[in-house]
């Protein structure tokens, strides 16, 4: 079915966007020396040649590897967190005149094949933001503690903080059109930016859709401490503007 869609009008527009460098893939990466090369070349293989890796103050050879693979690399001199890295990428994309940006994790958990259909969703004009979800099809193998405990808990907290119901809250796969790119300014440096983005989608009345993506777990994720940090960051950001 997907193959048939590629011949459609939006697909031609997609080819145009890629060609004219209006489509930016933003890849935040922190100490991903082992994975970043594979991620970047995977994107290039799928025709995305405008890859911006934001090296968030890595101690290893992340930026060299990314550069070697052909990506444009922006380097944070010190580590500031994934939210900060994404916003740096977004600022760059805005400056360069991007029409569409894709958030794509640097650890290799995503599949580049999921990008094209997501961009088609944006091009069809039905939505401003596409949010990836690993729970909409059966491709992702999710550890049961995540599926049964962590994801439902995150979903509940997200609903409280943002008022939006999502199947998969902390998914780093997103596609934003120019409007969303300008409206969604990420101020939460840490991992709470996921919730912040959803909140801003709602605040600015942006249209969004969830879209199935495949997630391959190479490592478990953030652990309990990371989760608590997110809740703490959210509470602080409620108090301090």
């Amino acid at each position: 079915m997907r193959g048939g869609q590629l011949k459609s009008q939006p697909a031609r527009l997609l080819v145009k966007l890629v060609k004219f460098k209006m489509l930016f893939i933003i890849v935040p990466a922190y100490n991903e020396e082992k994975n970043i090369g594979r991620v970047v070349s995977g994107l290039f293989e799928h025709g995305y040649n405008n890859v911006v890796v934001v090296d968030d103050g890595s101690d290893d050879g992340t930026s060299e590897t990314a550069k070697g693979a052909g990506a444009e690399v922006i380097i944070h001199p010190v580590n500031r967190g994934q939210g900060a890295a994404l916003q740096t990428g977004q600022d760059y994309a805005i400056r360069e005149g991007a029409e569409i940006v894709v958030h794509f994790d640097g650890d290799g958990q995503f599949n580049p094949e999921d990008i094209a259909p997501a961009i088609e969703l944006i091009n069809s004009g039905d939505c401003d933001v596409v949010l990836g979800s690993k729970l909409l099809d059966g491709r992702s193998k999710i550890p049961w503690t995540k599926r049964r405990i962590i994801i439902p808990l995150a979903r509940f907290l997200n609903h409280i903080f943002t008022g939006v119901k999502l199947s998969d809250v902390h998914n780093g796969f997103r596609v934003l059109n120019r409007l969303a790119l300008e409206k969604i300014e990420i101020t939460n440096s840490g991992m709470a930016h996921n919730t912040e983005i959803v909140r801003k989608i709602r605040e600015h009345g942006l249209k969004f859709k969830e879209h199935p993506v495949e997630v391959t777990y190479y490592k478990y994720g953030q652990g309990a401490r990371g989760g608590l940090q997110i809740v703490f960051d959210l509470l602080i950001s409620k108090i301090i503007k």
């Binding site: 934001v54 001199p77 900060a84 301090i240």
Partner: protein
């Protein structure tokens, strides 16, 4: 009582530190005055606990020591809140700086 000596020593240390910090110009004059008053009040309260008794009565608290604990807690909460706010502000400023430096280094294509 031993606790009195211990507390007085701690407060005296604080007093001395405040003065040295002022001498090294790390402290403003108002800061110095406020801290000296605080340390002195601490020392007086520890050495002559009865003074708090009459003040406590005015506030409607039974014992002087209780009044001190209540007030200290309130002040501590305020200080912590201020610190957290300041740190958060600093974090955001550092992020802004980092972003600026990072983006300046990327040459326009």
């Amino acid at each position: 009582m031993l606790i009195q000596y211990l507390l007085v020593l701690i407060f005296l240390y604080g007093l001395v530190r405040s003065i040295t910090r002022f001498r090294h110009k790390e402290f403003s004059k108002t800061n110095l005055v406020v801290w000296i008053i605080l340390w002195l009040v601490g020392i007086v309260v520890v050495l002559i606990p009865d003074v708090t008794f009459s003040i406590a009565r005015v506030f409607g608290v039974g014992r002087g020591a209780d009044l001190v604990v209540y007030l200290s807690l309130a002040v501590l909460f305020l200080v912590v809140f201020r610190l957290v706010s300041k740190t958060e502000k600093m974090e955001r400023d550092i992020t802004k700086l980092t972003r600026k430096i990072a983006l300046e280094k990327v040459t326009k294509k």
